[in-house]
Subunit: 137 residues, 2 copies
């Protein structure tokens, strides 16, 4: 799968997973909603009030900017439809201010569920350095 | 979410994602089919013939046994239905022999798509040391 197709498929996903490194030798993985603009992935900490779990993700990124995200399609009835796209890049946290607010607007625009519940919390911005895609067919 | 419920939800997932560490400071994440028995997660390298990408996963595990897996449910129309379960543990590769064949049987039994295509390649076995679950409701 070429880079343009990988980027397109990733951008069309509704939720992806974000892997960050904890610093104790282990990896944390969480699902996130997001928006992709060119080679930049924007996500927000959570739809729900912050918990220690959310803060862990931010601590990880502040300590080690290397993150990986994965979008994939799984179809139990047809494995020829399987595909995944992996993005690796450098992440940074945007705690507050105009940039965070702009990111919240961009992400919220993709999700109807934000209608009743404005996105809260810091943003995580990932500049993707490497796209890798695989497709079963 | 308590550990029993986390384990139950993880075990009912059809595909999960596996995060391994490459050794260059970055993390690889791939979707995998699997079977959960007690606190052990069994997966096979691939339904498709091996590629360098599959071998990377095995190289990662052989170098660093610390892996993380994530099961999650996403519902675009109802974020109160969201949940995820994260498993951390130590992984090992079973290349061939009776143990690998037994694992292939256990994993294949969960997936109708294996009917026409017996599972191939080495198995990855993860002994889960930590379950962590989150649910939106």
């Amino acid at each position: 799968m070429d880079v343009d197709e990988a980027r397109r498929r990733f951008g069309s996903a509704r939720r992806v997973v974000l892997a960050t490194q904890r610093g104790d030798g282990s990896v944390d993985v969480v699902p996130v909603t997001f928006a992709l603009v060119d080679d930049t992935i924007y996500s927000l900490v959570d739809h729900k009030p912050k918990t220690t779990r959310d803060l862990q993700r931010l601590r990880n990124v502040r300590r080690d900017a290397n993150v990986t995200l994965l979008a994939d399609q799984y179809d139990d009835a047809d494995w020829s439809a399987l595909w995944w796209v992996r993005a690796k890049g450098e992440a940074r946290v945007v705690d507050e201010g105009p940039e965070r607010d702009a990111i919240a607007t961009v992400v919220a625009a993709r999700y109807g569920q934000y209608d009743d519940n404005e996105p809260m919390g810091p943003a995580v911005v990932v500049d993707v350095a490497q796209w890798l895609g695989w497709s079963a067919s």
